[in-house]
């Protein structure tokens, strides 16, 4: 989700805001996040980067309202002399593609310059995956000499004054010393050559995807003509990104010129010729549950910026999200209005069923609540320090990468969360008698490398072994299962006061009094008795 700010005054020249209009804006899939006197803020879904520009948004939304519908046509002028970019084979394994254009007849003011920078930034962070997948450069044409070359050079051989700097730096210095250079340095990590755009005089225009030259890569109020390039890894996406920018400039009154790209093989960009996609009206009605006619499609599709004739849809060359017929069907639904689509209860008969795990969980908690126990529900992750306190062995720990909190290890029992709960509830009224049913994790042979079990923990505080054994007896009697206890040793429990719970010859859990050392380590002042059972074998008896 990207949030885009527009000048309210400019916006209202085209779209007058009121309650009804605000709802329409939402029904277009772009919620109005906030409105102030100066600005409005819209949430744009990530599949519609063509709406990031003010011009793009107004164009699309007015069509949605039924004004100037259909595929908007823009004139692309043929390249003038030297409107050429030569792509050197040296960029092939670094940042292989670029798409370029020239736009003349521009009339910038501060607002418009800001708009262009905003679009660039939004495209960088969304479609461009933070410049990794694509980066955009805009240059004042008056400062550069055509034709242009896109090539890769050794960092030491790249020397220019980067934006907002006063001295010349080489490629490596930019990555080490320039703030933007440092931020994006990892994108050029591991390459011995960096890509650059160079003009006919040999001046470096920029080092994509990092930074432009201060001399030749900065738009000012005097700029009337610009050179635009997008560089990256996916020619198709680069073409569409360039299209999004040039039509925004065209909507500002710019005159768009194509450029000849020489990859060895010749290409020309920008290319605004629409793609044709077939659409089957039966599929539309089947998927949406509507009964639209040809003439409905003829009305609805143009309202989403398409041309439609006879089963064929012309898709704008700036839409990045149309992969399949279903994408167009969604746009038909949006044009039709989600608020006008009537929800319907499906007439199909199926039999509902709860899993045995769910049934057993609710049965067990019913039994335990009957004993007056309070159910807990804890995080599945425990703190690193807690894993240490409870001596979870290093090789048994499953840790998540780069957790933003101190919770970073998957619990392999329910005792740790229970002790945390007791330690956090010291000041609440006793007795505190609790239980929890939940998933615990261990390493193992599964697709994910993790095994999951459902455990049950019961703890009384203050209490003793007898109470726990009574509970255990009652629980198994109610489940009509025979279990036995065997003397055992467990680190957290008092020696001689704990036992292993045995079911069908297999150890499935433990019961005992928590040792004073453990309680002290958790800063707990009251005695606790606890039992924990792995429920898998019990579930199996009811499967």
């Amino acid at each position: 989700m990207a949030s885009i700010k527009f000048q309210r005054k400019e916006f209202e020249k085209h779209i007058k805001l009121n309650k009804e209009m605000e709802e329409k804006i939402s029904m277009f899939g772009t919620h109005l996040e906030s409105i102030s006197n100066d600005e409005i803020e819209l949430e744009i879904l990530p599949n519609r980067p063509d709406l990031f520009s003010f011009q793009g948004y107004v164009r699309a939304f007015r069509a949605f309202l039924g004004k100037e519908t259909g595929l908007k046509k823009y004139k692309i002028n043929s390249p003038e002399k030297n409107f050429k970019v030569k792509i050197d084979s040296s960029v092939k394994n670094i940042r292989p593609y670029t798409t370029c254009a020239i736009v003349k007849n521009l009339n910038f003011n501060d607002e418009k310059i800001k708009e262009i920078i905003d679009i660039q930034e939004k495209l960088h962070s969304t479609l461009g995956r933070n410049r990794k997948k694509l980066a955009i450069g805009v240059y004042p044409l008056e400062k550069i000499s055509l034709p242009i070359k896109y090539e890769a050079r050794k960092p030491q051989e790249i020397r220019f004054i980067p934006l907002e700097m006063t001295e010349e730096m080489n490629g490596l210095q930019i990555l080490q010393r320039h703030p933007t250079g440092r931020e994006y340095a990892k994108l050029l990590e591991g390459y011995d050559k960096f890509p650059v755009f160079v003009d006919a005089k040999g001046e470096i225009l920029s080092m994509p995807p990092i930074i432009n030259s201060h001399e030749t890569g900065k738009i000012t109020l005097q700029t009337k003509e610009v050179f635009i390039e997008c560089s990256g890894f996916d020619f198709n996406i680069l073409k569409k990104t360039l299209n999004i920018i040039v039509i925004a400039l065209a909507d500002m009154g710019g005159k768009v010129y194509a450029m000849d790209l020489d990859y060895g093989k010749k290409e020309q960009t920008p290319d605004l010729s629409p793609e044709t996609m077939k659409i089957n009206i039966e599929n539309v009605n089947k998927l949406l549950g509507l009964s639209l006619k040809e003439k409905d499609l003829e009305k609805l599709l143009p309202r989403m910026g398409y041309d439609y004739v006879n089963g064929k849809v012309k898709v704008p060359a700036w839409r990045t999200d149309i992969l399949h017929e279903v994408d167009i069907i969604e746009d038909i639904a949006i044009a039709y209005g989600y608020d006008k689509i009537v929800p319907e209860i499906q007439n199909v008969s199926t039999v509902g069923n709860e899993s045995i795990e769910s049934k057993m969980r609710s049965k067990l908690s019913e039994i335990l609540v009957g004993l007056g126990l309070l159910e807990l529900s804890s995080y599945h992750l425990i703190k690193g320090s807690e894993a240490k306190t409870s001596k979870v062995r290093e090789e048994n720990r499953i840790e998540v990468m780069d957790s933003k909190t101190e919770y970073k290890i998957l619990r392999n029992n329910l005792l740790v969360p229970a002790l945390r709960a007791f330690s956090e509830n010291k000041d609440n009224e006793y007795p505190q008698n609790v239980f929890e049913i939940g998933t615990v994790f261990s390493k193992g042979n599964s697709e994910s490398g993790v095994l999951e079990r459902t455990n049950l923990l019961i703890a009384y505080s203050p209490s003793n072994f007898t109470r726990l054994k009574q509970t255990l007896d009652y629980l198994f009697k109610t489940l009509d299962i025979v279990y036995s206890l065997k003397e055992s040793k467990k680190e957290e429990l008092i020696e001689g006061r704990n036992g292993a719970i045995i079911l069908g010859g297999k150890e499935i859990g433990y019961v005992g009094e928590v040792s004073p050392e453990t309680l002290n380590a958790w800063n707990i002042k009251m005695p606790i008795s606890v039992l924990e059972i792995s429920l898998e074998d019990i579930f199996n008896k009811f499967r």
């Binding site: 949406l288 399949h324 159910e375």
Partner: protein, 516 residues
């Protein structure tokens, strides 16, 4: 009978009734107190034979019955301090010194100090007092007795004062005030105490009851003997409005109560429960759901990947299908057009949504299972910081409907039905976007109390690029995965998300039941 007399009689009857009903409700301790209510608090304690605390409790009960009002005055009382108690018995240090001097006149200071057995401080104090009163003289380091015989016998003002303590500070005679001034700074002879004086102010009702000797044959407890002895027994009436100590019962966790309820909605609607694991491979969490490998959600600062664990994928055919869907598309799709890497798909993670359960289900589905409806409610994870509105764990409910005839209107129908049962009488649908559904929809529910629309979930119809690789053919699959915590917070009016995971025993004990 004249009208007035009739009215009066009626009033009297009413009055008597209320007096009688109060008398019936008197507990044993109240009864012991009632007959002495005309007396002072002290006397009530004395006569009732109860402890002071018992009397206070009885008075409070009677106050609740509007028989009386308890008034408390705070008085500052002067009483003996620890030394004062001792001196009252043994005499003040100055008295002890005088007695010594009577028999040992004109002795050196040091010797007097030793013989007197007074502490240093006491001796100095005694000297000071006696000198000030000119009862002794001090010459050449020796003490001489100047007092006359009768002066020696007479009790000093201080001594008289100690004898009559305790006294109220505000009501001292001038001589007593003088004695207090002399003693107040000396160590622990007198002390000040705040004393609460309880006074009973009878109400009109109280005046009629007070002093009554209440002999009652009302019974207190039901005992086996009383049960056996037959009918017609009268018991003392309780004041049912009196508050009693709180108790707590066992209780299911409120989040689990709401989850059980949600599960019931789905089974009632004919859905079968899907089960599966929390840890899974990236493949099932992302790739099988047509989420491109460079999608931002797959970055380490959004998703919990597992350290030092290798995943694997056993169904090679499905892996091939998914790879194709991403690279060049299936069933008329263009795909994402990039080179898909199995290594990226193998990374194990904690599921970021419950939708991998749906992907697994589709991959397992046989023709005979269609039409089929499936649901899950489960815990999901994201790499987030924790504050009132964020957490690294959250609950989601998942559902899919696999049916040739299923369509977008049915999707909206299921969602509306579910959320109506969850307490949102009004729901609205807006366009939305997920990589794996098209069309996609965002659900808003109306919160009646706050009078605002809130976002409660996302849904859509699975893209062919999701369904075909897993199922082997295209069948419409309606799918949803709304978060659940928002709904729970709305119901319990919880403002801080952390309360859902915090296990505050006090809060859990007091939570209301989930009833929809």
């Amino acid at each position: 009978m004249s009208k007035e007399v009739a009215v009066k009689k009626e009033n009297d009857t009413e009055k008597n009734e209320s007096i009688n009903s109060i008398i019936d409700k008197l507990s044993p301790i109240e009864r012991k107190v009632v007959s002495h209510l005309n007396l002072s608090f002290k006397k009530i304690v004395e006569k009732s034979g109860l402890e002071e605390s018992g009397v206070i409790m009885a008075l409070k009960y009677l106050e609740a019955k509007e028989v009386l009002k308890i008034e408390t005055d705070v008085k500052t009382m002067i009483d003996l301090g620890t030394n004062g108690i001792y001196y009252k018995k043994k005499g003040l240090p100055e008295r002890q010194l005088l007695i010594l001097l009577e028999t040992n006149n004109y002795i050196p200071l040091g010797e007097a100090a030793k013989l007197s057995k007074l502490s240093d401080n006491e001796f100095k104090a005694a000297l000071g007092v006696l000198k000030k009163k000119a009862l002794i003289g001090l010459t050449n380091g020796k003490i001489s007795l100047n007092a006359k015989k009768e002066e020696l016998v007479k009790k000093s003002l201080e001594e008289q004062f100690l004898d009559v303590l305790p006294l109220e500070k505000g009501k001292l005679e001038s001589e007593q005030a003088y004695a207090f001034e002399q003693l107040k700074d000396r160590k622990d002879i007198v002390e000040l105490k705040e004393e609460k004086l309880i006074r009973v102010q009878l109400t009109e009702l109280g005046k009629q009851i007070a002093g009554k000797e209440i002999t009652t044959d009302l019974l207190e407890e039901v005992t086996p003997e009383i049960i056996a002895s037959g009918k017609g027994k009268k018991f003392r009436h309780y004041d049912v409005t009196t508050s009693v100590p709180e108790i707590y019962g066992g209780k299911k966790h409120f989040v689990n109560q709401s989850i059980e309820y949600a599960k019931k909605i789905w089974t009632d609607l004919g859905f079968k429960e899907m089960t599966g694991t929390i840890a899974d491979t990236s493949f099932w969490n992302f790739d099988a759901l047509f989420t491109a490998q460079d999608h931002p959600v797959r970055e380490i600062h959004d998703t919990f990947f597992l350290k030092d664990i290798n995943g694997k994928l056993s169904d090679k055919k499905i892996v091939e299908n998914v790879k194709k869907a991403h690279e060049s598309g299936v069933s008329g799709s263009k795909g994402w057009q990039y080179s898909w890497k199995e290594g990226e798909a193998l990374k194990p993670l904690l599921r970021t949504h419950t939708t991998p359960l749906s992907a697994h289900t589709l991959a397992r589905l046989k023709d005979k299972d269609i039409p089929g409806k499936f649901f899950a409610v489960g815990r999901c994870f994201r790499n987030e910081t924790v504050d009132w509105s964020h957490g690294f764990e959250f609950n989601q409910t998942e559902g899919i409907v696999v049916d040739e005839k299923a369509n977008f209107r049915h999707l909206l129908g299921y969602l509306k039905e579910f959320f109506t049962k969850m307490g949102y009488d009004e729901v609205k649908f807006y366009p939305s976007y997920f990589p794996y559904t098209e069309p996609s929809v965002e659900i808003y529910g109306y919160n009646k109390e706050k009078k605002v629309w809130i976002e409660i979930g996302g849904a859509g119809i699975f893209r062919p690029e999701v369904v075909v690789p897993l199922l082997g053919k295209y069948v419409p699959v309606l799918a949803w995965g709304p978060g659940f915590d928002r709904v729970i917070m709305d119901y319990y009016k919880i403002k801080d998300l952390r309360e859902l995971y915090g296990n505050d025993i006090c809060a859990l004990r007091e939570k209301k039941a989930w009833i929809r």
